[in-house]
């Protein structure tokens, strides 16, 4: 197995070269995977046998091994899925869901999805967390449904995680969740919003606590300009600054300090000030202290 993964690494390296990718990046990624694989140990045949044993202790042991070796264990994802497809004990169910999450195969999402609606709370929650890692359309659909669950933990997991699944189609549901005080939805909204939705989100500043809003803007303000333009970000900053409260100013200072250093980029090509420069001025207007950051 180790031998085969080394081949893959080399192949990936070759592919990187062929695609004119920076060798350093391609190599670094391959190297990371390689080191992970070197740390992993898995007797796949034995694990497969144990997964199919029908004995709880052996199945659990095999799942433990897979959890320790998620990269090497990927080919066994279908065997783990088979356990859930046929149904199994609670203990195995919880472990199997966790392992499928660790293996991160999108194909597993379809098998995991029904478990988000299991009558056992821990099973539902473990399944929802697993879907965040397996991703794919089946995961998005199941987690979108989970926003409507009676289980607040499941709702929270879904609301917080859908942003990472790039599921922009769930934006209306996320806003609805926020209306229903599922504050974790702010995180996903911050990760997914288009400029118009970002400003709609900022309207919530009138009724939600600043901490909830900043859990979203923390993502929104650091997204690339290709997703959220500086004009939108500046509008977001101005709305927070307009609160003119100490916590709001402190938050903007923290944002300022986390923005990349600009040096000569303080002025853009068009002569306008950069976002960071604008932010600095706003903070100063609000009496905030930027310290000696730059």
């Amino acid at each position: 197995m180790l031998c085969s993964t080394r081949h893959i690494s080399l192949w990936l390296l070759g592919l990187g070269v062929a695609l004119n990718m920076p060798i350093s990046t391609s190599w670094a990624q391959t190297s990371k995977r390689k080191s992970e694989q070197q740390a992993e140990k898995l007797d796949a045949a034995e694990a497969k046998k144990n997964l199919q044993s029908g004995q709880e202790s052996r199945v659990i042991a095999a799942l433990d091994q897979l959890k320790q070796a998620p990269t090497l264990g990927k080919p066994l994802a279908p065997d783990v899925e088979a356990l859930l497809n046929k149904g199994t004990t609670l203990k195995i169910t919880l472990n199997a869901l966790g392992v499928l999450g660790a293996l991160g195969e999108a194909s597993s999402s379809r098998v995991i999805a029904p478990y988000v609606r299991h009558r056992s709370g821990p099973v539902r929650q473990t399944a929802a967390n697993a879907l965040l890692k397996t991703k794919g359309p089946d995961a998005v659909e199941a987690l979108r449904g989970a926003l409507r669950s009676a289980d607040p933990e499941v709702r929270d997991i879904a609301a917080r995680g859908l942003g990472d699944l790039k599921a922009k189609e769930v934006m209306p549901d996320l806003f609805q969740s926020l209306d229903q005080r599922v504050f974790a939805a702010a995180v996903s909204i911050g990760k997914l919003c288009e400029p118009a939705d970002c400003m709609k989100f900022m309207d919530q500043l009138k009724k939600l606590q600043l901490e909830v809003i900043t859990s979203g803007t923390d993502h929104l303000l650091f997204r690339p300009a290709s997703e959220v333009d500086d004009k939108t970000k500046l509008a977001v900053i101005e709305q927070i600054a307009a609160l003119r409260t100490m916590p709001a100013t402190d938050y903007l200072v923290s944002v300022y300090k986390r923005l990349p250093k600009e040096g000569k980029k303080a002025l853009k090509k068009d002569g306008n000030k950069s976002l960071k420069t604008e932010l600095a001025e706003i903070i100063e207007d609000n009496g905030g202290d930027l310290g000696d950051d730059e």
Binding site: G54, T89, H118, R124, A150, Q180
Partner: protein
């Protein structure tokens, strides 16, 4: 007839009056020789041509500062400022009440003061008036002082005031004769001019009220005996007598409360829980006007059939009903907001009759006709729905009563009413549970059942789960296969109550087809080894049986695997084994198919 009553010509002579009763105590003594109704018959013959004066059609309410009154038809309202210690009573054109140390009488139509008389440290129990003379029955709230019977002329003079130990009820005056119920079984008739007893009527039912209604005179409490040509036969229980059906209604209201008691306006049990019925000629006997009587329970009124007590209609008013009256064609009901409503005997929607303009603690109404006719525009099911939709915790008993009436109503809407009631967050659990039992027995309103099953719990929209269990039972009994896909989805919905899951599984055993295989498989997979409660175990086994029936080879294989898998819940596994062995043999007796069946075990 010997003179029995002493006479007090002046109010100031009260103290002496009480000491000059002569034979009065004998008038109210039980040492009385029955005349077999002869005196009563003679009195009826004497009075049968009497035309009782038209009663004032009026509502009088008790406010925080006194009284307000208003005629039910045309006429200006009036008010009286002062202390009101007892629920006012209306008779003819007089409204009387206790105010401190006095009994006060007002003109019921105009509110003008007619007279005030000394209350003798007592309070008003009842009043009777024939347009020229008023009879009062007085007592103290604790019942420690002797009763007083007082005759008052229009000018306020008191020709007769007597004390007696016997508890006196509410009197009536009819043709110059005062009829005084006492000791719960007698009515003594006293000539208001001479003060002599002219007749005594022995009744075989509880009697503490005498009242003129629609020109006729009645005696009773639990039921009414009419003063007519048969009155002489009252002690043989052969008089014209009317009783309401023994129907259990919320608050156990009474038609007439104990007439020997004193009622204060603040006693909500007195004012807000009541029956109203109007006696009327029926063939040769006595019946209830329009065959309808009503029960008031706080803000809800129930129209009931006078023959069997069944619910005919129901209405909810904007405020608690604090008084009312039965008219010939309907009911006048006074609510705590000061509005007086007319509800026809057919249950027509309440129509405003008068507005007293102030919040009321109690109200008395006198009405002969309201001018209502026809039938209600909405069905009784719709009326019940409207009442249940008020969702007031204080009306829980009324809601229970109405829910129990629902199965008697042949209307598909009943199904929707039950579903809505169960789903509503403000329905008390015991009522929702009872509604569920009744819903399971419904066999109509399938469209409402299916529509309910389309809904699932939804945190975002606020949808609550439908009553899946009762719906499953009902739909299985009806045999509607359109329910199968909807039920299958609820089978896998964690918002479905655990106790309902086996009911859904059982319904699917009847209704499912191969279209439901995926949902059945999902459920089976999720719970065949994790079912930790008896209802889930039961459901898993039931689903296994259904899978064998509709799931094709893959469904059967799934069940067979589970039956042998040591990880399957032990109870499930043993029952699955039984299920598979019980599987009906295939009809074809071919060796090959028999072999297959055996190998699948």
């Amino acid at each position: 007839m010997k003179r029995l009553l002493s006479t007090c010509l002046a109010l100031g002579a009260l103290a002496g009056c009480a000491g000059q009763q002569n034979g009065f105590d004998q008038a109210f003594t039980k040492r009385w020789q029955s005349d077999s109704g002869d005196s009563a018959t003679r009195l009826y013959e004497r009075l049968k041509g009497t035309q009782a004066p038209a009663a004032a059609q009026v509502a009088v309410g008790v406010t925080s500062g006194g009284l307000v009154g208003k005629p039910l038809a045309e006429g200006a309202g009036w008010s009286y400022a002062g202390r009101i210690d007892t629920v006012p009573q209306i008779s003819g054109g007089v409204v009387a009440f206790t105010s401190g140390a006095q009994i006060v009488a007002l003109d019921a139509r105009e509110g003008t003061l007619l007279w005030k008389v000394d209350a003798g440290k007592r309070q008003l129990r009842g009043v009777g008036d024939d347009g020229s003379v008023t009879a009062l029955s007085l007592g103290d709230a604790k019942g420690t002082l002797p009763s007083q019977f007082v005759i008052v002329k229009r000018d306020g003079s008191v020709p007769h005031r007597y004390e007696m130990r016997a508890p006196l009820g509410v009197p009536a005056v009819y043709g110059g004769v005062a009829f005084v119920p006492w000791d719960n079984q007698y009515v003594t008739a006293i000539d208001t001019t001479t003060g002599e007893e002219v007749a005594r009527i022995l009744l075989r039912h509880q009697v503490s009220h005498a009242q003129t209604i629609g020109g006729d005179l009645y005696f009773g409490q639990m039921g009414l005996t009419r003063f007519d040509e048969k009155i002489g036969a009252a002690q043989r229980q052969a008089a014209n007598f009317l009783a309401l059906p023994k129907k259990q209604v919320p608050g156990d209201p009474e038609w007439y409360k104990d007439g020997t008691a004193v009622y204060t306006p603040s006693d909500s049990a007195t004012t807000k829980i009541h029956l109203w019925a109007r006696p009327a000629a029926s063939g040769e006997g006595l019946g209830v006007a329009a065959n309808t009587y009503v029960a008031g329970y706080f803000s809800v009124v129930f129209g009931l059939d006078a023959k069997d007590g069944s619910l005919k209609w129901t209405r909810a008013l904007g405020g608690d009903i604090v008084g009312g009256a039965a008219a010939a064609d309907g009911f006048a009901l006074c609510d705590a907001t000061g509005k007086v409503w007319g509800v026809g005997s057919g249950g027509q929607a309440p129509a405003p009759l008068a507005n007293l303009g102030k919040p009321l603690t109690a109200c008395v109404v006198q009405a002969d006709t309201l001018g209502t006719s026809g039938e209600a525009e909405d069905s009784v099911a719709e009326q019940i729905q409207a009442v249940l939709d008020t969702h007031r915790p204080s009306l829980a008993t009324a809601y229970s009563f109405l829910v129990e009436e629902l199965p008697n109503i042949q209307d598909p809407l009943v199904t929707k009413i039950l579903i809505d009631l169960i789903e509503h967050p403000r329905t008390v659990p015991s009522l929702a549970k009872r509604a569920g039992v009744l819903l399971a027995k419904q066999r109509t309103g399938v469209e409402y059942m299916l529509a309910a099953l389309e809904r699932h719990y939804d945190f975002l929209s606020g949808n609550r789960p439908p009553p899946v269990g009762p719906l499953a039972v009902a739909l299985a009994a009806i045999g509607d296969r359109n329910a199968a896909p909807l039920l299958a989805k609820h089978l896998n919905d964690p918002a479905t109550a655990t106790k309902d899951v086996p009911l859904v599984a059982s319904a699917l055993a009847e209704l499912a087809s191969s279209s439901e295989t995926d949902e059945l498989k999902t459920f089976f997979a999720l719970y065949r080894a994790t079912a930790d409660e008896a209802p889930l175990v039961e459901a898993v086994v039931k689903v296994a049986q259904t899978l064998i029936r509709v799931g094709g080879p893959s469904g059967q294989e799934m069940v067979e695997f589970a039956a042998t898998d040591p990880l399957t819940h032990p109870t499930v596994r043993s029952k699955l084994t039984e299920t598979i062995y019980r599987k009906p043999a295939k009809p074809a007796p071919k060796a090959e198919s028999a072999g297959k069946a055996t190998s699948s075990l």
